[in-house]
Amino acid sequence: MNPLLDIENLWVRFPTRQGTFDAVRGISFSLGRERLGIVGESGSGKSMTGRAILRLIRPPGIVEADHIKLGGVDLLEKSEKEMRDVRGERISMVMQDPKFSLNPVMTIGDQIIEAYRLHNKASKSTAWTKALEMLEAVSIRNPERVMRAYPHEMSGGMGQRIMIAMMLIPNPEILIADEPTSALDVSVQRQVLDIMDKLVKERGMGLIFISHDLNLVADFCDRVLIMYAGRIVEVCDADKLHDAQHPYTRGLLNSLPRLDTPRDRLDVLTRDPSWSDAPSVSGRA
């Protein structure tokens, strides 16, 4: 089966006064109709990877790759204008905190309708109905009222469901979820994840789930890439994550408390400089 997305040798660079900083250093992976987790600590380059796929790294940042192929077509060869037809319509992204990722001075309805009408020639009333359906699909009660409300009137969990609705309304093939639940209360995290999972499955989409939360990813994804210092250090199936080999992954796992095997003292992660020098592991399925 052809993968939805195939990335070869991706670099993200930021020139600084002290020289070039490489946020992502030559990673390769592919994504099928699956749930792919990318895990790593902050600064490991996982978010940059997500944004680089959409070519949303702003200058002076530089994205380089041998290719980023979406359905066999290299995104890097597209003009900025052609790229706009990819964004939203074919690849979408949900970001961390709905408090910041929704425009505070536009009604929620206007923002969802805008997302729909950017890629579909539809009248306002059709778009309105579509948006209502979408809000219902993310289990928003009273969607009519929510459409007329402003983001600050929403709770975090609702905000994130609205965000998912907005990003899925053009019916994309791939959704990138960048820490979608990190800013939410623990009590609503599961609910938001379930909704996202259901929609992604129903539509047969590919999902890239970026998170720092190892257990969450192991639970939720099919396959996991573990990133460290801009490289992929290990790839494994999510259900076999607890048998991971790489010392970094082991270190991360051991630094987490577990209910089934309680310990008096948790390990502190010790970093080996050689990890960041080792070549990147291919993340192809």
Binding site: R51, N103, V105
Partner: protein, 352 residues
């Protein structure tokens, strides 16, 4: 701030609807500021080395005339009573009579104010029309030549004495090139040709259908208005740029880009919508500055507005006129501030 804390106690006693409380707070705050403004002008009037009685009766008046006027002005009363009188008069728009031309100061101000209004309005119009897009583009293309240009324009604007730039403008565009009219609102042949309805010559001429006067008035106003426009452009474009930079780095901008919006729409439909509130405050502030303080510009261009009026009064020690003018100008400043606060509530859903 202070009043809000103060109101915390009031809320415990009686629970009025919030908007009434807000209204009370606003009115209270205006009243306090106005009172302070009047107090400062009052004090300035009292410490003036000029004897107000002598200024009225003249040097050679007899002692009895002097005493009569002294009592009439209430100068024998304690200062606090005098201050109360002063407030009472101001509330009735009575700023006393001008010592220079014996006319009521309020009348004089009503006569000169339209000239300032016309000039400042045209000036702020230029400032907005050129300053806002310049600031937006400078932020969107940070580091580009247009950003550099905006920076230099602003820097020069902040550093140039306005009266000197005005003189240079007159020298070049009037003296050498002859493209614009000289000082004054209209040329000498057009003075009082059209009936004064609004006091704004451009409007009056248009109402009258007298396009010769309109053209002449326009050639007179264009230079000082551009000058004021340039100064507000410097400020407005700088502020616009920094507001836009702040918004463009916000996460909802990324959301808009993820949706597949064009950069133009991202900037104008999303980012710009979020700076409207701050921008209104900045524009109100610069408009107030133009209304109050085109003093130097008005002098250079012999523009018979409130700035010229206050300065002339000052130089001839006409204290009633100076203080009246100052109070009116301060009042405008306060009103514009309130106006921008109100717009804030209209445009920002979070402020409700």
């Amino acid at each position: 701030m202070a009043l809000i804390e103060d109101n915390g106690k009031g809320r415990a006693r009686a629970s009025l609807p919030p908007w009434i409380q807000t209204a009370f707070l606003t009115i209270g705050s205006i009243a306090m500021t106005m009172l302070g403004l009047l107090f400062v002008t009052f004090i300035i009037g009292r410490v003036m080395p000029i004897d107000p009685v002598l200024a009225i009766v003249g040097e050679r008046a007899s002692q009895s005339t002097y005493d009569a006027v002294f009592l009439e002005l209430g100068l024998d009363k304690p200062l606090i009573v005098q201050f109360a009188y002063y407030i009472w008069d101001v509330l009735h728009l009575d700023f006393g009579t001008s010592l220079l031309n014996a006319r009521p100061v309020a009348e004089d101000i009503a006569r000169v104010f339209p000239a300032t209004l016309e000039l400042a309005t045209l000036g702020i119009f230029f400032g907005i029309v050129f300053g806002v897009p310049l600031g937006v583009v400078a932020a969107a293309r940070k580091g580009s030549w247009i950003d550099q240009l905006a920076r230099v324009l602003a820097l020069v604007g902040y550093s140039m004495p306005i009266f000197w730039l005005g003189l240079m403008g007159l020298l070049i565009f009037y003296g050498i090139l002859g493209w614009v009219g000289g000082p004054g609102r209209v040329g000498i042949f057009y003075v009082d040709v059209v009936p004064s309805v609004t006091g704004l010559i451009l409007v009056d001429a248009a109402l009258d259908g007298n396009w010769d006067v309109f053209k002449d008035a326009f050639s007179h106003i264009i230079l000082p208005a551009s000058l004021l426009g340039y100064y507000s452009l410097a400020y407005i474009s700088r502020m616009t740029r920094s507001f836009m930079l702040e918004q463009l780095s916000a996460e909802y901008i990324t959301t808009a880009r993820v949706k597949g919006m064009s950069e133009w729409d991202v900037i104008w439909k999303h980012a710009f919508r979020n700076i409207r509130v701050q921008l209104i405050t900045v524009i109100a502030l610069s408009y107030a500055t133009l209304l109050e303080g085109s003093v130097l510009t008005e002098i250079i261009f012999s523009w018979p507005g409130i700035g010229s009026y206050i300065t002339t009064a000052l130089l001839s020690a006409d204290m009633n006129a100076v203080l009246g003018g100052t109070v009116v100008v301060g009042l405008i400043f306060i009103l514009l501030n309130i106006f921008s606060d109100l717009l804030y509530k209209v445009f920002d859903p979070r402020a409700k």
